[in-house]
Symmetry: C2
Subunit: 215 residues, 2 copies
């Protein structure tokens, strides 16, 4: 392992980068931030795509490795820094956590990310209506699972990777797409609980060095 | 753990169900198949959504649990049935495998699944052009990662979860969307190698009990 300080390539408004920022905060891993503006398309520049072939944020340089894709980064941090765990020990509970992670990171977020919305607009579609539609469908499934699994947080009363993924998605749903959260009382309650925790607050877009006020 | 025979809710053409079929075959887990036709919208029927709140396939009933979402199911099978492993032991290699898994299961597949394509059509878009665009962008990243990691398969010469996810995506790319695979020689070579393996062949859509010949 390398002793160099980890470097996170991040963009304040990326929900995928937000997940990794939260996990780093939660585990107390000190990290240098380098900013990649998705608004300016900096992720497509050659300098960055040499670091990250997927031309996405985040990228994490840690332990002499260059890691891309947020979920694998979270799993790696969990495996190599098991203190302050974000996955339960029991395989059945781990599966519940990962199901929520994937429902958000697989079914919901990819369909409302910037490059998809640009394509929706090029077809003459309304990007907010599109996003609202898919986030709402996705949240219906999440809410139904939470009826069975949630306590103070997504799976019982311990913070897990499911929570790390949920909060950025709630932010997108409410601040960007106007999703009616009255239909999702459990999701909203958990989001309210998470918003009180320092690791989550400090990872919030408004608290990033590259934050830009934008409508 | 329950000793009952596992039940997989599957649809022959679902790439997510295909991933789980491959893993079950690979690990030699005998399993009953129940068919859920996405073409007929059976995943939205109440009877099924009580089993799977996300109204998606696959669902796996195993060990007295009801598991949904393909990637968490693969991780669960790996944790509880570690023989014939599909993840390496070393965290850095596990991260490489999971990065490819997520690039496919997060960045590519969700954007070309049935419910998204129906929405694209309702905007007057061409669903094949849409899919081709996003699969091509996604494969560019995958191909670039494979330049560094691949041997006979995605990560070295052992079959991993990355391969389990790659083959169904190559099928979609070629059989459904007409993606030009000449641009992706490593992906194509790995797919050719995987197509020779029984676990993959037996999981192929054409070899399923609910297979329907369709243009």
């Amino acid at each position: 392992m390398s002793n160099e300080k980890p470097i996170l390539y991040t963009f304040y408004r990326s929900s995928c980068a937000w997940r990794v920022r939260t996990c780093l905060n939660w585990k107390g891993i000190d990290c240098e931030h380098r900013y990649v503006s998705l608004y300016k398309g900096e992720q497509k520049e050659e300098k960055y795509s040499e670091v990250n072939p997927y031309k996405t944020v985040p990228t994490l340089k840690i332990d002499g490795l260059v890691l891309t894709q947020s979920i694998p980064i979270l799993e790696y941090l969990e495996e190599t820094r098991p203190d302050k765990p974000l996955l339960p020990k029991e395989p059945d509970k781990r599966a519940l956590v990962r199901t929520l992670v994937q429902a958000i990171a697989g079914d919901i977020q990819p369909i409302q990310n910037l490059r998809v919305l640009q394509q929706v607009e090029s077809l003459g579609g309304d990007k907010n209506e599109w996003s609202k539609h898919f986030v709402t469908i996705g949240f219906e499934g999440v809410e139904k699972q939470l009826e069975k699994t949630s306590g103070k947080y997504c799976v019982g009363d311990e913070v897990t990777l499911a929570d790390v993924c949920l909060l950025p998605q709630v932010y997108n749903a409410t601040m960007r797409f106007g999703v009616d959260m009255k239909k999702f009382p459990r999701i909203q309650l958990i989001a309210d609980n998470l918003n009180k925790l320092d690791a989550f607050k400090n990872a919030h877009p408004d608290n990033q060095g590259d934050y830009v006020k934008k409508s």
